[in-house]
Symmetry: C2
Subunit: 408 residues, 2 copies
């Protein structure tokens, strides 16, 4: 008789965004006349830019022509895209990353979820708290996290690194008693919108080097960085090539949430003994993945064209104008606000000690604005709330103005 | 200090298609004047049909327009595509499969590779021999296969079901001493091109029901079925909905090898105790996957349009004309040939007791034709050879005519 992977059953049933969806649905059914503004989920709203749609149309025409049709893609992705990435995202920033250290994929969610597979099951995982749920849940499914404490909402074998106002939302190095093997870091951070400086990230690289740990660095939001001393890539730090894997996405810098494209960088010198992690990930790619669509890889290439860069700079600026409006508007109204400067996420402290969900209900019911309760991202998110800058400017302005009418 | 997943190291280094690639490269470098014809890898060569490219262009335009832009897709895939599949692939054949039992993905390779994750690590796996390597390798990576016998090229904990001329390439039910929990079946088969009848498949369903096993049924080649009593779906069999998962692909019926689209069917009544496998796979999808691109899902929808069906019928007929030419041509030349009737693969016995690789070298060097050595798919493939019908008709004819010049 077959049996299931029991680790799946250990996962708590709290689907953050599905709970939000249900609450919104109940409210809007009861109040069909109300205009609800959604600044909750991190999905983009602006259409693909012309440089990208032109590349897509061109690639579709190629696929419809016998002379230029393409079947299976190369395992790591097409050279034209890997080279554009190496040149623009790495070499242009002084990072010595080769095109063949880049693995093209259908997104950072898949890659950050799957990467744990190439590591031993008894490796100890460290995550920021609050955290993007995929890092933890994918390790739960693999059986790497121990038992769940439903009271504290934490796993016994996971090292949580609280990120709160007290430490300016920057994780602290784990104490001597708990040494992690795999350290998930995400900067600019989802959900807090916080960043750390190059010097701070260097401390993490030095720590990983010393402890023999691997940093799994999610840089999906790097396009939103506006400050000079905030690193765009972990490979800007000395020594990172032998202790860090980096994940990138086209979802937020180019609006590809529905197009699906991302990549993972594994430098060849990142090894466990004489086994390179690059070879393991290549084996996984070759066995369980079949490449991103050719047309989508051409769209990715267009992101790096002169026209693409100019058009997408405007798109990021549009969202950052929203971020600024939310940040300033709520700050003026007396809220304690962070994020939003190098990130499309604004992280605010709920007023008057309200819980995250209390504030969620309050916003939904009183001003018809949907955000994300910070506690959904982990226990240290309690008392915080996330708003995203990915809406339209008009809706963003209206949402902030509505929130400002609330009296606490 | 971090450690790797040691199971990856157990994988034998024999990359079948990379070995083939190297041999071909060495030969063509030494003989730059020779025209090599490749009937090896199962990649298609005809361009996308007009119904599909029109749908792609239309969807690209939607993505470039603020009013019609789409971000993240629904977890299971868009309703329009799941409904088209349920109606055309299932209800039209009398199979009672609902749209919400269908999970859209980027291909059957990913799904057949990932599905093992939702099962217990101590489940016993049964595979046909020869076999599509992904089924075995993905279980090796998970640690489900025991130790490797490099002499016999088999894993200690895997049940191999030999498929040879003696049993007309149809696997036999495992004996009482070895009961599998997970049974991988692929019909029409890759690599042998063999099929089994509906009555034979019903025996497997009955067996799985009796033993409490799950059948993982790969029907990626169903579009090539030409005979009446060969099932297109395992759900044509009584009772399959409570013991079988089915995998489908758009790669071979619509030429999507470089477009990437597939789906997996998990009926809601397929359960282990009170846990439905549908819920587990939904959780995996939600955690580690972010949906197939919107534009690609629209392309998939077009496959089921009247124009799409008509155009793709011609495309399949084109490849099947190749299959017939290979089959008949080699048969007339005295080869023992099978497959090719309900499948784009022709499976032939090597002449004069040559090994699969000896015959490979002979074809490459003497007539400049590339095929796939049967032994690359498992020990019972030794002495066999696979040719595919996915080339152009002109090349296929030339390759067969060249092979016919060989004297053994």
């Amino acid at each position: 008789m077959f049996r299931i992977n029991e680790n799946y059953i250990k996962l708590p049933g709290s689907y953050l965004f599905s709970t939000i969806g249900k609450k919104v649905s109940v409210y809007s059914t009861a109040h069909p006349d109300k205009k609800i503004i959604r600044l909750g989920i991190g999905d983009v709203t602006l259409p693909l830019v012309p440089a990208v749609t032109e590349a897509l149309h061109g690639a579709v025409d190629e696929m419809g022509n016998a002379e230029t049709f393409r079947g299976y893609a190369p395992d790591l992705g097409y050279e034209f895209l890997r080279k554009a990435i190496a040149d623009n995202d790495y070499r242009a920033r002084g990072c010595d990353i080769d095109a063949d250290e880049i693995f093209i994929s259908d997104g950072a969610k898949c890659d950050t979820g799957n990467i744990q597979e190439i590591f031993s099951l008894d490796n100890r995982v460290a995550v920021c708290d609050p955290v993007y749920p995929v890092y933890v849940d994918s390790n739960v499914m693999a059986g790497r996290t121990g038992t769940y404490d439903s009271e504290r909402e934490t796993w016994s074998d996971v090292i949580y690194m609280p990120c709160t106002a007290e430490n300016r939302f920057a994780p602290e190095l784990p104490g001597e008693s708990r040494t992690p093997d795999l350290i998930y870091l995400c900067f600019p951070n989802n959900p807090t919108g916080a960043t750390i400086t190059r010097a701070q990230l260097q401390e993490w690289v030095d720590y990983a080097q010393k402890k023999g740990a691997v940093i799994l660095y999610d840089a999906a939001y790097e396009a939103y960085i506006s400050e000079e001393d905030v690193p765009h890539s972990i490979y800007e730090c000395e020594g990172a090539k032998s202790c860090a894997i980096e994940f990138r996405s086209f979802s937020k810098n180019a609006g590809f949430t529905g197009v699906r494209l991302g990549f993972t960088v594994i430098p060849k010198e990142l090894k466990c003994g004489d086994v390179s992690l690059h070879a393991l990930w290549a084996r996984r790619h070759g066995t369980k993945y079949n490449g991103a669509p050719y047309i989508v890889q051409r769209a990715g290439e267009a992101v790096y064209s002169e026209a693409g860069k100019a058009q997408l700079k405007e798109q990021v600026a549009y969202y950052m104008k929203n971020a600024k409006y939310i940040f300033n508007g709520l700050k003026e109204a007396g809220y304690t606000v962070s994020g939003g400067v190098n990130s499309p996420y604004i992280w605010l402290k709920t007023p008057k000690g309200m819980s995250s969900w209390e504030f969620f209900d309050c916003l939904l019911e009183q001003v018809n604005v949907v955000g994300t309760p910070g506690s959904g991202f982990g226990p240290s998110g309690e008392g915080y709330f996330r708003l995203t800058a990915f809406g339209s400017y008009e809706n963003t302005v209206e949402a902030v103005d509505r929130i400002r009418t609330l009296q606490f």
